[in-house]
């Protein structure tokens, strides 16, 4: 099943995830691009999977939707068992890694960047990343696409030594990130959603608008 490498028709941009003391947060803007046009501007790219898991998807959004559809089938299966066992973020991460890697080996990639986060059964925050190659990693800060270059250093700079972020610190860090991403990433817009999964809640919040200042544009003259 070989196929020419084809660029995604409807790509989405970066996803950023941070761990804080009580849980995880995942932020992504609400844009899916079609060609060069900012066509779909109100898309929730961070999704709630179940009470303990949230997922943010970047790159080809059609593939992200296909993946989320498969995952929701699994959640329905969990409901049918009715035995109190729910898919944990670690299990979802592991399963997605196997899936994406096997698709990659069959030369039939799912072109996605996934950030999977949530609370493990023993109430510890979990944050993981998996991409279309099947590369998987877990970390306190996870970024995909442009955010890896543009905002990961920013977050690492703000990261307190010897302790995790607090909720407020994490929110402020993400706010700053989304602002910088809108300034610098051409395939982004200022509206974004943040998914929060902690001991107390599991919700997708937003859309928020990044506060940007374009006064500097006036100085940009001469061409």
């Amino acid at each position: 099943m070989s196929r020419f490498h084809s660029d995604s028709v409807t790509p989405a941009s970066s996803v950023v995830g941070v761990k804080f003391d009580d849980g995880v947060m995942i932020a992504a803007d609400t844009l899916v691009v079609y060609g060069n046009a900012c066509r779909y501007q109100d898309v929730d790219r961070v999704m709630r999977i179940n009470r303990n898991t949230i997922l943010g998807g970047g790159r080809d959004f059609a593939d992200v939707q296909a993946v989320v559809r498969t995952i929701s089938h699994k959640i329905i299966e969990d409901h049918c068992f009715q035995d109190g066992h729910h898919l944990s973020p670690k299990s979802l991460h592991s399963w997605m890694t196997r899936l994406l890697y096997s698709r990659r080996n069959k030369r039939d990639k799912l072109d996605v960047d996934l950030v999977i986060g949530g609370m493990t059964p023993n109430n510890k925050p979990y944050l993981g990343y998996v991409d279309s190659r099947g590369t998987a990693l877990t970390s306190d800060v996870v970024t995909t696409g442009f955010s890896r270059v543009l905002v990961e250093p920013l977050i690492r700079e703000r990261q307190p030594r010897h302790r995790p972020f607090t909720y407020v610190e994490a929110v402020n860090a993400l706010r700053e990130c989304m602002k910088v991403l809108f300034y610098r990433d051409t395939r982004s817009i200022e509206y974004y959603t943040i998914g929060v999964c902690s001991r107390d809640e599991c919700k997708i919040k937003g859309p928020f608008k990044a506060k940007t200042c374009w006064k500097i544009a006036e100085l940009n003259t001469g061409f």
């Binding site: 068992f81 035995d83 109190g84 066992h85 944990s88 670690k90 299990s91 991460h93 592991s94 399963w95 196997r98 059964p121 023993n122």
Partner: protein, 297 residues
């Protein structure tokens, strides 16, 4: 004339009734006799006991070698770090089932990075075993299993029958002469949850002691010569079959602690399958399952 009568008599002796030759044949009373005969095969195996407290699940099995010259059959089979089984019945069938369980656990671990939840694995096994009770070209597995497992919902004891029925139990026994062990467990059921690890193992040893045949029971000077195997799984305790030294230590411990209210003689033997003479009337259903089972959660 007489010859026909004799032939018919012999034929009747071969098949208890005419509805039990195939697993796909129902009897007029609505029973599948082949499945029930398979359940009887479990009663041929030596007794084994499963019980649990809040943190651990324990299996104790009585090992009886088929002859003086051979080693005893392996009764306890580890499946994964969080789960193991104890068998009674046809060992070859048990081998096949344990191979399947191990493969499922490994496959789950590979895909999901965590251990297979015990209740789901048992449901999976039950579904696999059910097909053998519904196909004309298969026969039911002639082995009963006691599963001891530990997952995020705590310790579990499950009993699986050849009929593909499975029961979530607080404590259970299967095998020959297991009724007396069951009586012991029923008597002490309320104390199990609060037990320590050592206590729960000692309870298991006392329970299985009552499954010894009468003559060995009288000879036995208080559990120190029992030929048993013990396995434990639980919190921070991967499934482990105790070695000889640990076995002896627990046997000594059980002997010292003694037991105040053990059954002094075995109860009525539930070994004989009693439909021999009355194929029409229904035999009382084995009551043991209802006592130790847990609500489906």
């Amino acid at each position: 004339m007489i010859l026909r009568f004799v032939f018919h008599y012999i034929w009747l002796k071969m098949f208890r009734n005419q509805y039990d030759s195939d697993v796909t044949v129902w009897s007029p009373q609505g029973r599948l006799h082949q499945v029930e005969y398979a359940i009887a095969a479990v009663k041929l195996g030596t007794a084994t006991v499963g019980l649990k407290n809040n943190d651990y699940a324990v299996l104790v099995a009585l090992c009886k070698p088929p002859s003086e010259l051979s080693a005893s059959q392996r009764k306890l089979i580890p499946i994964d770090d969080h789960l193991g089984i104890s068998i009674a019945g046809i060992t070859a069938d048990a081998r096949v089932l344990s191979k399947y369980l191990r493969s499922e656990c490994l496959s789950y671990k590979h895909s999901y990075g965590s251990t297979y939840p015990v209740s789901r694995l048992i449901t999976n096994l039950g579904n696999k075993m059910q097909t053998t009770t519904q196909r004309y070209d298969r026969r039911p597995y002639g082995v009963g299993l006691l599963i001891a497992g530990y997952d995020e919902k705590g310790p579990h004891i499950y009993k699986v029958e050849p009929s593909a029925n499975f029961f979530n139990c607080k404590a259970m026994t299967i095998g020959s002469r297991s009724q007396s062990a069951r009586t012991y467990l029923e008597r002490h059921l309320s104390t199990f949850n609060g037990c320590s690890k050592d206590d729960i193992i000692c309870h298991g040893i006392h329970a299985i002691r009552s499954s010894l045949p009468n003559d060995e029971l009288n000879k036995d000077d208080g559990a120190s010569q029992l030929n048993i195997t013990i396995a434990i799984v639980g919190k921070d305790q991967p499934f482990k079959i105790l070695n000889n030294d640990e076995n002896t230590a627990y046997l000594e411990m059980a002997k010292e602690r003694g037991t105040s209210s053990m059954a002094s003689k075995p109860q009525k033997d539930d070994d004989n399958f009693s439909t021999e003479d009355q194929p029409e009337s229904s035999t009382p259903r084995d009551p043991q399952v209802a006592i130790g089972t847990m609500e489906i959660q």
